[in-house]
């Protein structure tokens, strides 16, 4: 199986994730976009590791997973806190820190 296909798939996933982050307002959906981008990156790392025949990329993929898990915990906590105070999960409503 051609390894390039994995890279193309990763690129497509990353683009979908990025578009989700930029276009959707719901914080949960934005979060999912971010997760999609992270996993697209992971796929790329693993693919390149396979191409070059060493383990560096795979190790980094684990790191990303750990960081992503931690990030989800913190991020969801923030979203819940915001939802409790503002009764909304829209990121456009969270603009009070400007100016």
């Amino acid at each position: 199986m051609e390894l390039t296909n994995y890279l193309v798939l990763a690129a497509v996933l990353f683009t979908i994730g990025a578009t989700t982050v930029l276009l959707r307002r719901n914080a949960i959906i934005v979060f999912m976009g971010i997760e999609l981008m992270l996993n697209a990156t992971n796929l790329t790392f693993v693919t390149f590791a396979r191409m070059h025949g060493d383990l560096h990329g795979q190790v980094i993929a684990f790191f990303v997973m750990v960081v992503a898990a931690a990030e989800v915990v913190v991020g969801l906590a923030i979203i819940v806190a915001i939802f409790r105070t503002r009764r909304s999960a829209s990121v456009d409503d969270v603009n009070l820190l400007k100016n």
Binding site: A18, V21, L22, L23, V30, D92, N95, L97, K98, N99
Partner: protein, 689 residues
């Protein structure tokens, strides 16, 4: 090496003193100026007191404030008189020394010692400085006494005496200094004191402006002295008299000319010589004792002192000497012409001072032949001009501070003492024998008629100017005298005029003689005006006394015989007096000044000196300033303000991007990332890696 010079110098000095006992009919050149010795005889150690006493007076009076109001005036008099007593002690001990040991440098303390420059503060005691010290302290003390009565009702009398003392102290420092730098300190002190005194009644705007004018014009002159100091430091590596004068014959004529001209600028500023003369007339804004002090003893004489003191510099530069003579001649005529048209009694006297100082400058520029007479005239002038200023003050005192001579007249009946003392001063300035002025002024005219370097045109031109000046002086001084003391009374005596002899308009005046405290100094000065010249001229005493400083002049013949010069001068003087008598004593003097000729109108305006200064210097200066300020605002400030504005405006625009929307920030980050990746790609493919 030092021992050798000492040994070789020692016998020569002894030889001189044994070979030249007293006076010798000598034809030695100007090089015979006696070098300064550093051995200080006992009484000379008192000399610092000369400066310290008046300075102490000024300090005490200024610091003690209102507490000293009661005794302040007499304390000032006491300090000035104390300085005079010290001056007498030093003078008599100097008389006891042989002539070639009378020049003494008394070093007091080190002041500035950096690199090649070593300036100490010291006093030069020699016949020239002692002459000035005696004049300043004696006349100064008399003016102090006079001022006690004149300023009696002034609430700030104490401050006035503090300034007077400061003036005397600064002038003494000026004439006693042993280097140009210390002289400069005194020079500035005199400028400061004159500023404070001219503007003493500064609650009136005109007086404050006059003080400022005097100060600023003096600053222009001071600049000349500063330049001279720099030139000396560059050329001689020293600024003390001893070194500079000893080295003067060895340096180039160019340096001497430049230094001489710079010194002349300084002298012009202080002595109100053309072209820096404009401040003198306005300086009359000060109280009359101040005018007397400025015009007789201190301040204006400083310029003449500077030129005579710097004789060795001028000796090396005939060009600078010629310029000094020209300045003297121009000022002489300038002052005389202005004096003929003024109606303000003090302004006439001021113009006359300018003219008389012009005579001294002229003499000082003639070289060794004139130095002694310049100083001689300065001394006699100090007496008669101080006397006349005090007389004018006395007239003003009796006339409720009126100064318009067209409102005077016939005052001789009411102020006998003032009339007589003023009359003696008048005869002295006219140069009528045997009064003081004759002995000094006539000698200057005679010296001016001596050709310099065989150039006869100079003798005729400058001699002619001096002669003409004597005639004009006689006219305007007689005009002043007759308008004030003779003719018909032109003031309103308040009687309603039953006899029809005095006008009924104008303020009422009750002329009366001044108190004894004022007339006593006038009498002393009048005696000096009458007798001093003859006494000092008798047996050439004064010229011989000064000879260690000024050198012996070679005897030279004027282009005309001496007797004919004296006759011509006297004839011109008498003509001037007669003319003034006819016009201002016999004929009625109009109260409203007639329109007059073009020259009269010009002279009333001081020959347009202020207009010229304003048009030539002030306005271009203002335009230049405005242009520079405009340039600064537009170009320099404008540039930086524009840059700041640009940064500010950009920031304002960028601020809009901080909208608080997370998605917008994310888009920015993405765009940035894409740009970075694009750049990295472009760079890596561009370098072929």
């Amino acid at each position: 090496m030092p021992t050798v010079t000492l040994l070789s110098a020692l016998p020569r000095a002894q030889e001189l003193s044994t070979l030249l006992p007293g006076r010798l009919p000598t034809t030695l050149g100007a090089q015979e100026i006696v070098p300064a010795t550093t051995f200080v005889p006992g009484p000379f150690l008192l000399a610092p007191l000369l400066i310290a006493l008046p300075l102490l007076g000024a300090l005490v009076l200024l610091l003690a404030g209102r507490r000293s109001d009661r005794w302040g005036a007499w304390f000032g008099v006491l300090m000035s008189a104390g300085a005079f007593v010290v001056a007498l002690v030093v003078f008599f001990s100097m008389l006891g020394l042989p002539a070639d040991e009378r020049v003494v440098d008394h070093r007091l303390f080190d002041w500035i010692a950096v690199g090649g420059l070593d300036v100490g503060v010291g006093l030069r005691l020699d016949p020239l400085s002692m002459t000035f010290v005696l004049l300043v302290t004696f006349v100064g003390t008399l003016i102090h006494v006079y001022a006690v009565a004149y300023m009696e009702h002034d609430p700030d009398k104490r401050r006035f005496f503090a300034y007077l003392n400061l003036f005397v102290a600064a002038m003494l420092l000026l004439v006693l200094a042993d280097s140009y730098l210390v002289l400069f300190v005194g020079w500035e002190g005199v400028g400061l004191a004159s500023y404070l005194l001219i503007g003493f009644w500064n609650h009136e705007r005109a007086n404050a402006v006059a003080a400022k004018k005097a100060f600023i014009m003096n600053r222009v002159g001071d600049l000349g002295l500063i330049v001279a100091l720099m030139l000396m430091f560059a050329g001689f590596g020293a600024v003390d008299f001893a070194t500079v004068f000893a080295d003067a014959p060895e340096v180039g004529a160019g340096l001497l000319t430049a230094t001489g001209l710079a010194l002349l600028v300084a002298a012009c500023g202080k002595s109100a010589q053309f072209p820096l003369q404009a401040w003198l007339g306005d300086a009359m804004a000060g109280p009359t004792p101040v005018s007397a002090l400025i015009h007789a003893a201190t301040m204006v004489t400083a310029g003449v002192y500077l030129v005579v003191r710097s004789a060795p510099i001028y000796e090396g530069s005939p060009t600078a000497q010629l310029v000094v003579v020209v300045v003297g001649a121009v000022t002489l005529l300038f002052g005389a012409i202005v004096g003929c048209a003024k109606d303000d009694i003090k302004k006439v006297l001021a113009a006359s001072t300018m003219s008389q100082i012009g005579y001294m400058m002229l003499a000082a520029g003639l070289g060794p032949i004139g130095y002694a007479f310049a100083i001689f005239h300065l001394v006699t002038h100090g007496f008669f001009k101080a006397g006349m200023f005090l007389g004018a003050g006395s007239v003003m005192h009796g006339m409720e501070d009126g100064v318009d001579m067209r409102r005077f007249g016939a005052l001789s009946r009411y102020m006998k003492v003032t009339w007589v003392t003023f009359g003696l001063g008048w005869l002295a300035i006219l140069g009528i024998p045997p009064f003081s002025g004759f002995w000094s002024k006539d000698k200057i005219i005679e010296a001016a008629f001596v050709p310099v370097d065989g150039q006869e045109w100079r003798a005729w031109v400058f001699g002619g100017v001096a002669l003409l000046g004597a005639g004009i002086t006689a006219f305007y001084m007689s005009r002043l005298f007759f308008m004030t003391f003779h003719g018909r009374a032109r003031w309103n005596d308040g009687s309603g005029n039953p006899t029809g002899t005095s006008p009924t308009d104008g303020p009422v005046r009750h002329p009366h003689e001044s108190p004894a405290l004022m007339t006593a100094p006038m009498i002393v000065l009048a005696v000096g005006s009458a007798a001093l010249g003859g006494l000092l001229a008798f047996g050439n005493v004064f010229v011989d006394w000064l000879s260690p400083v000024t050198g012996h002049a070679e005897h030279a013949e004027p282009v005309l015989p001496v007797w004919s010069l004296i006759t011509a001068t006297l004839v011109l003087v008498l003509l001037g007096v007669l003319l003034a008598w006819r016009q201002f004593a016999v004929a009625p003097v109009p109260i409203v000044p007639p329109r007059g000729s073009v020259l009269t109108r010009a002279a009333r305006q001081d020959l347009y000196q202020d207009q010229v200064n304003e048009a030539v210097l002030m306005r271009p200066g203002q335009y230049l300033t405005r242009f520079l300020v405009y340039g600064d605002r537009q170009m320099v400030d404008g540039g930086w303000m524009g840059l700041a504005g640009l940064v500010g405006a950009t920031g304002e625009k960028l601020r809009g991007m901080q909208n608080g929307f997370v998605r917008s920030y994310a888009a920015t980050m993405l765009a940035g990332l894409i740009v970075i990746v694009a750049v990295v790609l472009a760079v890596t493919t561009g370098t072929g890696s």
